[in-house]
């Protein structure tokens, strides 16, 4: 029985399925009324700025068709910028302008885009073409992140980003997402980007996943993806972990980028982070989540909470090299709830 054997192996490895993620984590830890904070990138950004978390600088917001005229004014000081739907999903509807070209604009890939094209694009975003549920949306114009040259060898166009999954503020798993030719420069796994597991303790990359398979080389550059040391890893971890206080959501995926000049920045938050991160890390999420839940129960009994730094330290202690995902006895994890 293929199905049964696979089922049992997956269960033994603590692999989390969609049903479990929804029932035990998303529905349990994420309060509905807090969703707008993560679904709307403008709100996320405002919150982040308010608590002093690093985000790409916001140049302006367009809310109505009439506001489209303000576009030129918003971007007059910048040669490159990014246009995003505030409530878009999966990286859709995003235009990255790399340069200006004789009154027109040039995308990252060198395609020329006219001012009219941009106006039309903004208008479609406003009408809700890219928003979840198709309702009216806002347009966000922000700083264009320049990826750190470190990623040049293992990335094709686009901006690689780092996804860290947080359970109640504890990082449980991390992944570096690398755009490929197939993904069209987008860092979304289901569009063909590569996910590369990251050792939470050290920031060293592991093997990767591409379209549900395990891989070890980037398909476009053929460079190995593992063994790359991500710079300022502790900075990433702290930045990500502080997103729990920012959003109030217990189970989120935090997307971060590494800018050449500004270092780690928060791009966006996701209340329903995907599950392919497990393939990238060759590890199951369920076991790590259970461990954090036991730790939380023990803390609750002791009547104390942990700070961002303590949470990061806990995760780095326990979710380091992949070997540690195997069930182990841990005096700190307390008795099973």
């Amino acid at each position: 029985m293929f199905f049964w054997n696979t089922w049992k192996t997956l269960k033994a490895n603590g692999v989390m399925g969609i049903n479990r993620r929804n029932a035990d984590y998303v529905l349990k830890y994420n309060k509905r009324h807090l969703y707008p904070v993560v679904d709307d990138k403008i709100l996320t950004k405002e919150r982040a700025i308010a608590v002093g978390i690093n985000v790409p600088k916001m140049y302006g917001v367009i809310e109505t068709e009439k506001d489209i005229d303000r576009f030129d004014e918003i971007i007059k000081d910048y040669r490159d910028f990014v246009i995003k739907p505030a409530q878009g999903a999966g990286g859709d509807g995003i235009i990255v302008i790399a340069d200006r070209f004789e009154g027109m604009f040039k995308s990252v890939s060198g395609k020329i885009i006219t001012r009219d094209d941009i106006g039309h694009h903004i208008s479609s975003i406003l009408s809700g073409l890219y928003s979840l549920g198709g309702h009216r949306d806002r347009v966000l114009i922000e700083y264009r992140v320049t990826p750190d040259p470190l990623f040049k060898t293992i990335s094709y166009e686009g901006v690689p980003d780092i996804r860290i999954i947080l359970l109640m503020g504890y990082p449980v798993m991390g992944m570096l997402r690398l755009p490929t030719r197939q993904s069209g420069g987008k860092a979304n796994l289901h569009q063909g980007a590569i996910g590369v597991g990251v050792d939470l303790a050290t920031g060293l990359t592991l093997k990767g996943t591409w379209l549900n398979n395990k891989i070890s080389k980037h398909p476009d550059t053929t460079n190995p993806v593992d063994g790359v040391q991500l710079p300022d890893w502790d900075g990433f971890m702290h930045l990500a972990a502080s997103c729990y206080e920012l959003s109030g959501l217990g189970y989120i995926g935090v997307d971060l980028v590494l800018d050449e000049e500004k270092g780690p920045l928060i791009l966006e938050l996701n209340a329903r982070p995907g599950l392919n991160i497990q393939i990238a890390n060759d590890a199951g999420l369920t076991q790590r989540c259970h461990m954090v839940e036991r730790h939380l129960a023990a803390l609750k009994k002791a009547g104390r909470t942990e700070t961002v730094a303590e949470r990061v330290a806990y995760s780095q202690r326990h979710f380091g090299p992949p070997a540690s995902i195997k069930p182990k006895t841990d005096e700190e994890s307390g008795t099973p709830a």
Binding site: S124, S127, D282
Partner: protein, 509 residues
Amino acid sequence: MQSINTHLKILIAILVSLGIAITAYQIYVMEIPLTEDETDDIWSLDAKLEFEATRGVPVKAQMFIPPLAQDYVSLNESFISNNYGVSINQQNGNRRVTWSARRSTGTQALYYRLVLTQRYSSEPPPASTPPLREPIVLEGAEQVAVNALINPIRQHSADIETFISEAISRVNDITDDNVKLLLGGDTSPIAKARVIDVLLAQARIPLELVHTVRLENLPNQEPELWLRSHNGENWLYFHPETGQQGIPDNRLVWWTGTQPLFDIDGGRRGQLTLTVTNSEMNALRLAEMTSNNASSQLLEYSLYGLPLHAQQVYRVMIMIPIGVLVILLLRNIIGIQTLGTFTPVLISLAFRETQVGWGIVLFTMITALGLSLRSYLEHLKLQMLPRLSIVLTFVVIIIAIISLFSHKLGIERALSVSLFPMVILTMTIERLSINWEERGGGHSFKVALGTLVAATLAHLLMTIPELAYFFFTFPATLLILVAFMLAMGRYRGYRLTELMRFKALTKQG
């Protein structure tokens, strides 16, 4: 979390038990048939009374007819007779019809028909205990013969039951001189019954002669005589000749007492033919008929109490949860991707109009054409609302053209497409095309296929007539459905497609 789980379990238990209890009540107490095709036996009894009327004399024919308070429910009772007045009167638990005419000549034929069924009958009222009676006073030799018979019977019996059996077996021993004397040469069952009556009267045991009819497909039946006595609790039936105790289920009491079946004044050569025929009838229609007759409110508070056109709508509506359940299973357990959650259900409803085969063909065709139009419109950079309106209009035009062509080609089936919900198609096209742009052609093809499969499956399930009947007749089963959906709401196992997706994680290293 634990308390929520307990709460959920209790809720599920309540819903399931409520659903089962209501349905069981409907099935076992109200006896609503489980399937639409379930039929019930219907017996029709035809009695034809023929006689020759005497010229110039008023005619009065009287005949016993079965009393209605029995294990059977009468569906219809009719008296057919030309120029005769009909009246029915009750006496001692019997019913008697009287046909009367001022004058008539020649051979007369009077008809009586009764249609019966056993289902949906109410419990017969408990019989009142007949009073103990005085012994019939006899004289001379007869008294001696009776005494000679009664004494051994007394010795061989313990109670009313054994006394009667003993008396019957004695009377049937026609070699016995005492019996011979009492019978007076007449060995018909009625004569034997009379002698048994005399014997029992000596012991003050009440006895009734019961004339019954067999409910079997038999022409020209003779009423069958049974004896019955009351032991203070219920009626005991005995066959007057064999002494067999207990009456078979298929006997219908026609009348009781010693009087003959019919009685004619002003006529002669009376002859009665009794024919019993059996037919079957749809159990549900039967229920409707009996509820009119028996004033039972059997179906009054079910969906059958609605006006007919409303029933038609509810027959479709009550199946929608089944369709939704199919989508739920396909999405959460199998893991098939569909376009939106309930679009497949809407499409499957649309298949009702077109039949599945045509529905799939038309759906595919219209969606493909619509998608190509949509991708062309994409170049024109139109806003959403105008674009949607154009696609919708285009869908209407395609449907009209398909109808026209198929009509010219003589395929009437495709004409029904005109009711194929256009808005559903338009939304399907729009969402598919967005899907196409965002996730690529392969993904949107997968989603479209998943939607079609889900819709077809849901449609096939929703149109099983037995299932539709079952849910319409026993709507409480929907509670069980809800309970199942609740349980599904906390299902955390893997989806079957996830087993494929995470296959890489089962390999070591």
